[in-house]
């Protein structure tokens, strides 16, 4: 099972290390983790995607809550939240040509954020499945390098 968890933590020295340490100490599998300041500069928000069976996921949530620097752990369920991830992909234009790649970018609403003689770098924000689909479409062009942020998540409604 895969689960997305948001964690609000004190924005202090060593807190990120503490959270990451928890995962390795306890042997939890982490898919992705991102962290940045919230509107309150004293608080950071982490979005963590973890894998495991229900017992493991329950331990992950409890262990995160137990950290002194954690103020809130938010568990997301299917359909109750939105998730967006950013992808940067450097794609070769030598195999199938620049126009075709630009056409894919246009159709998929990806930005062209860098242009080189033999490549284009696309920037794209979307849900996990949209990113997967775009990467499938880009594969035939030869993907030179990618960077992904891992998803950030917010609950729906109020």
């Amino acid at each position: 099972m895969r689960e997305t968890i948001a964690v609000l933590v004190e924005n202090r020295f060593g807190v990120l290390a503490r959270v990451v340490d928890l995962f390795s100490t306890r042997g939890f599998n982490i898919d992705s983790l991102n962290v940045a300041e919230t509107m309150d500069p004293a608080v950071s928000r982490m979005t963590i995607v973890v894998q495991g069976d229900e017992a493991v996921l329950e331990q992950v949530r409890k262990q995160l809550s137990k950290l002194v620097d954690t103020t809130k752990v938010i568990r997301f369920f299917e359909g109750d939240h939105v998730e967006r991830e950013m992808l940067l992909a450097k794609v070769s234009t030598q195999k199938r040509g620049r126009p075709e790649l630009m056409e894919i970018a246009r159709l998929c609403r990806a930005d062209i954020v860098d242009v080189g003689e033999t490549f284009l770098t696309l920037g794209f924000m979307g849900a996990k499945d949209e990113i997967a689909r775009l990467l499938e479409l880009l594969k035939p062009f030869q993907i030179l390098e990618i960077a992904r942020t891992g998803p950030a998540a917010l609950g729906r409604g109020k």
Binding site: E10, F13, G14, S65, L67, V68
Partner: protein
């Protein structure tokens, strides 16, 4: 407020938090703290190794219920504390450890005596800090004492760079403090507690499983009332020894790997297990898939991560043991347990803890005599291994905070420094370290601390010349291949030692009697059963630290035993 140095703030925190004993060793990065400590009313005990300081602070905390404090310098001082902090962490002991650090401007430069202490101690403490600004120090110290002592207690480490100790601050030491992310649940959920009461009322074969959490929360009186009013037998974990008087007919003593047969049988047959402040460690559950298959499990624990971690729980109650039991007692309706107690009484009679009581000098006999001659009223510390299990089995515990032992981490070398800490906290108490000849050598240097500070601890070495517990496993599970567990083996031994002891060299290294004398303690050697009682009497009557070196049966094993990963149903040995 008048500005004062970080070092002064540290001493201020000791006074404010009523710390009356501190253990440690000075060094370059903590001289400022010691400079102030010397001018304060706080009792300081200079240990001979930082590990000894950490265990002494731990022993002090376990024996008194107060927070134990230790201080070490940067680098090696801090890394030497590590085993002690990990020990306290596994057993939920409130300790505050202060370490010096190189000046902030030098951090990360591989400076002299620099180690990444906050990184090293992160996973073996309840919480830790690196203080980068002296203005944060008063708050951090206040938080550290609060976090160490409340909720599920544990060690907190504070790494303080030398320049932060010297810098001035006018921030006062806080009287109260609120930590946004730290709110332990003390009161149990009433609906859950009602469910517990219902389950108890319907139970036919209930068992109470009491752990170290009962001691931490001071819930032993409530536990006693629950057990005696509801007529439910009580078994304890190693950490729970002393939570329920073993002299009571309802007591099943310790369960698990080396627990009593009757405690383990009771767990196997129980239809309701009420766990209070225990965490279902692998040493008590044995094979998980066969653990308590007939029982509903109630789990009362202040730490939500303990609940459901290894054993599926039917009725979880998050809360402080004492607070939860108090609520439970208000609505308790006793079940009918007469038939169940009769069955247990039969097991007790048929399979008591036993050993071969012949003319040989056996370790179990020594512990029974220590118990008899101290009237069960001593504070017992242990090392780790066979000595620890025999101390758990053959001393009769009746009060909390009288059995101090490294349960979770299993730290050899714990017993002597822990005894020193306990004696420092309880000057009038009889403190006895039950030791093995292997373990005692891991922190023997602390004998100097005991002698120089008039801490008259008694060390009973059950000397079998082996790393005995490992030897036992080698005998039982490794085809008697006794590799590197004989402590008397030397170059002059036959290469193919057959462990018949006929060819054993006549020497003892070290000679514990001479060693005791070298430190200024009293040393007594006992080689015959008839000399055991006089030797213990003499040790107890001596106002100095004493080592009694009991040369015991070399191949005595700890029984009963549930092999690691086995089911509690299948125990080995234990009959006289």
């Amino acid at each position: 407020m008048k500005p004062r140095s970080g070092a002064k703030v540290i001493i201020e925190s000791f006074v404010q938090e009523a710390v009356d004993a501190v253990f440690g060793i000075p060094g370059g990065a903590v001289i400022d703290i010691f400079d102030e400590l010397n001018k304060s009313p706080v009792n300081f005990y200079l240990t001979r190794h930082e590990q000894g300081a950490a265990h002494a602070a731990d022993g002090y905390a376990r024996a008194t219920g107060k927070v134990g404090v230790c201080i070490a310098t940067s680098g090696p001082g801090a890394t030497n504390l590590v085993t002690g902090l990990a020990t306290a962490n596994m057993d939920s002991v409130p300790v505050v450890a202060l370490t010096g650090q190189v000046p902030t401007s030098m951090i990360g430069n591989d400076a002299f005596q620099e180690a990444y202490t906050s990184g090293i101690t992160r996973s073996i403490t309840k919480h830790n800090y690196l203080v980068k600004d002296v203005n944060d120090l008063p708050r951090i110290l206040k938080e550290a004492f609060l976090i160490a002592a409340t909720g599920r207690p544990g060690p907190v480490a504070i790494d303080i760079p030398k320049d932060v100790q010297q810098a001035l601050t006018s921030v006062p030491y806080p009287k109260e403090i609120e930590i946004r992310g730290y709110k332990p649940t003390v009161k149990g959920h009433l609906r859950q507690i009602r469910q517990v009461a219902d389950a108890i009322k319907k139970a036919k074969k209930p068992v109470i499983l009491a752990g170290g959490g009962v001691i931490a929360s001071g819930a032993h009186k409530e536990l006693h009332e629950l057990a005696t009013r509801a007529r439910i037998p009580v078994t304890t974990t190693l950490m729970g020894l002393g939570t329920f008087p073993e002299t009571d007919p309802l007591a099943l003593k310790m369960l698990g790997m080396h627990g009593t047969a009757y405690a383990n049988y009771a767990m196997v047959e129980a239809d309701l297990i009420i766990s209070v402040g225990a965490r279902f460690d692998d040493r008590i559950t044995g094979k998980l898939s066969e653990f308590a298959v007939n029982a509903d499990i109630v789990h009362i624990d202040i730490d939500p991560t303990s609940i459901g971690k290894s054993v599926p729980v039917d009725i979880p109650v998050v809360g402080d043991a004492r607070a939860v039991l108090r609520e439970l007692l208000k609505i308790l309706e006793p079940p009918r347990t007469a038939a169940w107690l009769k069955k247990i009484a039969k097991w007790k009679k048929e399979q008591p803890l036993a050993y071969k009581d012949d003319d040989a000098l056996r370790p179990q006999y020594v512990i029974e005599q220590v118990c008899a001659l101290t009237k069960g009223d001593a504070v017992i510390t242990t090392e780790v291994g066979q000595n620890q299990m025999w101390a758990a089995q053959f001393y009769t515990y009746t009060k909390p905070r009288t059995f101090l032992s490294s349960g979770g981490l299993g730290t050899m070398g714990y017993g002597l420094p822990a005894a020193i800490g306990a004696q420092a906290g309880l000057p009038g108490a009889t403190v006895v370290d039950i030791a093995g000849d292997g373990s005692i050598q891991m922190n023997i240097q602390e004998l100097a601390t005991a002698c120089l500070n008039d801490l008259p601890v008694k060390v009973m070495i059950l000397n079998n010349g082996y790393l005995g517990m490992v030897r036992q496993w080698q005998e039982l599970f490794y085809a008697e291949n006794y590799s590197f567990t004989c402590l008397r083996r030397g170059k002059d031994c036959p290469e193919d030692c057959d462990h018949s002891f006929e060819n054993c060299p006549k020497r003892a290294i070290p000679d514990f009697v001479k060693l005791a004398e070298a430190y200024g303690a009293v040393g007594i050697r006992v080689t015959k059963k008839k000399d055991v009682v006089p030797a213990i009497k003499k040790a107890l009557a001596t106002k100095k630290p004493v080592i009694v070196d009991f040369i015991v049966e070399r191949e005595e094993n700890v029984y009963p035993m549930v092999p690691s990963g086995g089911s509690l149903k299948h125990m080995m040995g234990g009959m006289a």
